[in-house]
Symmetry: C2
Subunit: 195 residues, 2 copies
Amino acid sequence: MEGRKSTKERILSAALELFAREGYEAVGVARIAQAVGIKAPSLYKHFASKRAVFEAILRRMEELDAEAAAACSLPLAPPGADPATYARAAVSDLVAFAKRQFRFWTRDPFASAFRRMVTVEQHRSEEMAALYQNCFGTGPLDYTAGILGSREEAVAFYGGMFLLYAVHDADPASPAAAKLLDKHLSRWLPRHRGR
Amino acid sequence: MEGRKSTKERILSAALELFAREGYEAVGVARIAQAVGIKAPSLYKHFASKRAVFEAILRRMEELDAEAAAACSLPLAPPGADPATYARAAVSDLVAFAKRQFRFWTRDPFASAFRRMVTVEQHRSEEMAALYQNCFGTGPLDYTAGILGSREEAVAFYGGMFLLYAVHDADPASPAAAKLLDKHLSRWLPRHRGR
DNA sequence: ATTATCTATAGATCTATAGATAATGC
DNA sequence: ATTATCTATAGATCTATAGATAATGC
């Protein structure tokens, strides 16, 4: 009774992957249990209800995101820094940050499945709509607009990235989306000439 | 026994709106019937099964899209046209086409709900994944790349538009997304200077 | 006569619990 | 002694059908 991951962990992962594909309501606890290799009633020794599994996924993602943010996040301008110099540096940093974010939300198995789950659950409740926007919609758009100093610039910058999440999901094994993202982001690097 | 729309039409609209919010599997026929103002068994006089309602929605969207395409579509370069002149004209046409498409997929009630439904159903089957990509992912991206003559340019152009669908859905009554789209697309108009 | 609706319900499936059994930790 | 699993099953819900009743069209 111990693979590399505990049964509780395996329930979380299996449920998340199924919720991402089919949506929370469409997945029965029997399907989750089967994916883990147990019977449905055994699942209730680890979680009080199907809903509790969903909520544990949300809490787990919050933790994972906090870790990723601590390692990855882009600091704001230090008080007193030269604005012009900092703005140029900040855009280079933004490009690097965007690449890390894309990698995280496409390659980390939990984050990738979570992104797809929130995408398919976004219209089910106000809470999911807000989470979707904060993580993948107006959240990153506004953040990018703040650094680029222009909402229109941010639409082009983050819009391309947002589209490439969808392109990636059409064929997750292909590196095409990640390569296209690199080319897209290069347009905002200082060395880039013309359009 | 006739409002403005037939009961069959009202079942299609009600089902589509519910499927868009909650996903096909999560919606029971009793919910659809209730939205229409009939009891669940009466629905089976109009459709053979719940699945048949879904399939009628797909066929209806195909018809609506064919109509919209006939009225809206962007013709390809006429054989023998001057390439440079045509390319400039084509980009202006593309901007106007993009605005009409955005309007269609956000303001037409059937098209808007269909877009949200396909978004939440995209990972349920190969068929839905292909439909989603053709309508909103690689389909428009490749089409745009063909006209702009550059895949990277297309990522920025269509990416912004694709993101603004999501921004629109966060607050469908607000004109903010449509206004931001106009500004975004203006960057590709010939009169536009610099970046 | 046909069509649309209803109530009643069959049969499947889904969440969750009860209680038995096997495995693990002191 | 506690924990994780199982089988069996209660109770709710879901799709779909049967058969009765009311409304519509000839």
